[in-house]
């Protein structure tokens, strides 16, 4: 059984008047509580796959099954219900929210839209969500622009888990964070995965981050899958030229006594 199964997905754009495939015949599956990493150089098609999976854009060809149902032909109430189970966290939480909105407002929206909790119950649910992602419930009344980048990313995660998703798409979700904060956010994601059995489509250009949290990896090159497999094995012994280049480009910190 898989949470997400993507088959022969293709998305074409135009560049200089000529069509090209930003995503070219890509297939993969993600199981429950599994982290599948998508790696690749910039422009290799990672974000386009994220947008296709979230149905923010439509593919030119291919099929997406989410929780064993044909996601691309779904519409109306069925689509809305399914969308609640498929959430996202992007690199820049400020861009994702109205910066003047309060944290409570940001977390209230999914509870309301998806009918998760009656109005009277929502403040309690919001407090519980904040606590779940390691934030003080007192933060609820603060504006998004007043809190730190790490806190914002926790709010983004709280919003994503509010609707009890089975899959979260994370597109460079920790790339803009300071290293100390980054470690905490990654640990939070792992903890949520174990407790709530959430699967992650984890997009990053950083193999160090991927190796820390992912079970399997797919490496993209110009829209195509160049190689895939167990994350640590692929990173230790990359076979494709792009995989080798990504590994070679990682700055190495050689310490006598780690």
């Amino acid at each position: 059984m898989s949470v997400l199964a993507v088959s022969n997905l293709t998305k074409r754009y135009h560049r200089g008047g000529k069509p090209f495939a930003a995503v070219d015949d890509v297939s993969f599956e993600i199981g429950p509580a599994e982290t599948l990493a998508l790696a690749g150089p910039s422009g290799s098609g990672k974000s386009t796959i994220a947008r296709l999976v979230l149905r923010l854009i439509e593919p030119d060809a291919g099929r997406i099954d989410f929780e064993d149902a044909d996601f691309l032909t779904m519409s109306g109430a069925a689509l809305r219900a399914r969308r609640a189970r498929l959430q996202m966290v992007f690199q820049d939480p400020l861009a994702a929210f109205n910066p003047r909105a309060t944290v409570a407002r940001v977390l209230n929206d999914p509870l309301r839209v998806h009918g998760i909790a009656p109005r009277a119950d929502r403040p309690r649910r919001i407090a519980a969500l904040l606590e779940r992602v390691g934030l003080d419930a007192g933060l609820a009344q603060r504006a998004i622009h007043e809190i730190s980048g790490g806190q914002r990313q926790r709010v983004a995660i709280a919003r994503a888990i509010a609707t009890r998703p089975s899959l979260i798409v994370l597109d460079e979700a920790v790339s803009a964070l300071d290293v100390s904060v980054r470690g905490q956010i990654l640990e939070l994601l792992l903890d949520l995965q174990r407790q709530e059995r959430i699967a992650y489509l984890f997009i990053s250009h950083d193999l160090g981050v991927i190796r820390a949290v992912a079970h399997r990896i797919f490496i993209l090159d110009a829209g195509r899958i160049a190689e895939s497999g167990d994350a640590r094995a692929v990173i230790a012994y990359p076979q494709s030229s792009v995989g080798k280049a990504l590994v070679a480009a990682m700055p190495k910190l050689v310490r006598d006594r780690p």
Partner: protein
């Protein structure tokens, strides 16, 4: 090694909504001639503020104290200057400016009203000062004919976002030629020849065509190569790269770091490499300076910082690095569960 720059007790405070925001607190540091010095720290630690202060690029109204002594090797006597800011007036409390210089030191330039005569260096057009990383409108300091190092001919500056230093409507060859023309004065023909040589040196494909291209026709990594070419066009002694590879993917980042390493060594430049990434800094630098909350908390040879850090904070930065030989968090979680 002799010091190219001596920074003494440098303090910088921004003014935001009438409130003073301290960004650097009493930083003292010698930048040695010919070295590759990395400045690392988390966001907000003051890295960019230090870089902008050295280049005289801090915005109007910024409070600056302390001293920077610049000793370009072609002049026998070191040139000193109080960090310029083009601010309307320095507060009397900044009386310590210049006081660092002992009796034998050359006269120190004090910031005065005269540095606010509005004279903008010829480079103004190339540094549109577009807001980047939260830095508001910058203005090159009123450099005029003071003894401060000149942006372009003494200091080359590379920003994180190459678009912030490139003019979107000017062919890139012209942008590079202008720097050479302004500072070296070879005439336009010579300046264009120099631009073409520089495009070759930064390994841009097909320099004959690229010289006529506009920035939007290039990839992020190629734009950064152009920005580097422009930064070194007038043969500066010091190259400052502020998070110059942070917006690039790892493969392009490695290429740009290799390029910077090669150019710095070929031209005998001194490098200040600013990064939030301790591993990247260690891969390039001879020495590493660690900033935290505006203070310089540790400075040492790269191997000492990496293997025997004196500060717990430096060790925490090292431990937080997720390298390809680190224990995966996945395992730590599993065992702790």
């Amino acid at each position: 090694m002799t010091a190219l720059l001596s920074i003494r007790d440098l303090s910088v405070a921004y003014r935001r909504d009438g409130v003073e925001v301290p960004a650097l607190k009493g930083v003292s540091l010698d930048v040695l001639e010919g070295e590759r010095l990395a400045i690392i720290g988390e966001s907000g630690s003051g890295k960019s503020t230090l870089a902008l202060a050295l280049a005289g690029l801090l915005a109007m109204g910024t409070e600056i104290g302390g001293m920077i002594e610049w000793s370009a090797s072609q002049s026998q006597t070191p040139r000193s200057f109080a960090p310029l800011s083009g601010l309307p007036a320095i507060s009397p409390a900044r009386g310590e400016i210049g006081s660092f210089a002992d009796g034998s030191s050359p006269a120190t330039l004090e910031i005065s009203k005269s540095s606010d005569d509005g004279s903008i260096s010829p480079l103004a057009g190339e540094m549109p000062g577009r807001a980047e990383g939260g830095v508001p409108e910058r203005r090159p300091s009123a450099i005029g004919n003071t003894q401060a190092p000149l942006l372009g001919s003494d200091i080359g500056f590379v920003f994180q976002d190459p678009s912030s230093s490139l003019d979107p409507v000017m062919p890139i060859g012209k942008q590079i030629a202008e720097v050479a023309h302004t500072h070296l004065g070879p005439g336009w023909k010579g300046a264009y020849a120099k631009a073409k040589t520089l495009l070759e040196r930064v390994r841009l494909p097909n320099p004959d065509a690229t010289i006529h291209a506009y920035p939007h026709q290039l990839s992020g990594g190629q734009k950064q190569r152009v920005a580097i070419a422009a930064a070194i066009a007038a043969g500066p002694k010091l190259l400052i790269a502020d998070e110059a590879t942070s917006a690039l993917d790892t493969i392009v980042q490695a290429e740009i770091v290799a390029l910077i390493r090669r150019l710095v060594s070929e031209d005998g430049m001194t490098l200040i490499f600013i990064s939030h990434d301790i591993a990247l800094a260690a891969s390039l630098a001879d020495r590493i300076a660690v900033l935290r909350h505006g203070e310089l908390i540790e400075l040492g040879e790269t191997s000492q910082i990496v293997n025997a850090p004196q500060q717990a904070y430096t060790r925490a930065l090292l431990d937080a690095h997720l390298g390809l030989n680190a224990e995966p968090l996945l395992d730590r979680q599993d065992t702790s569960a």
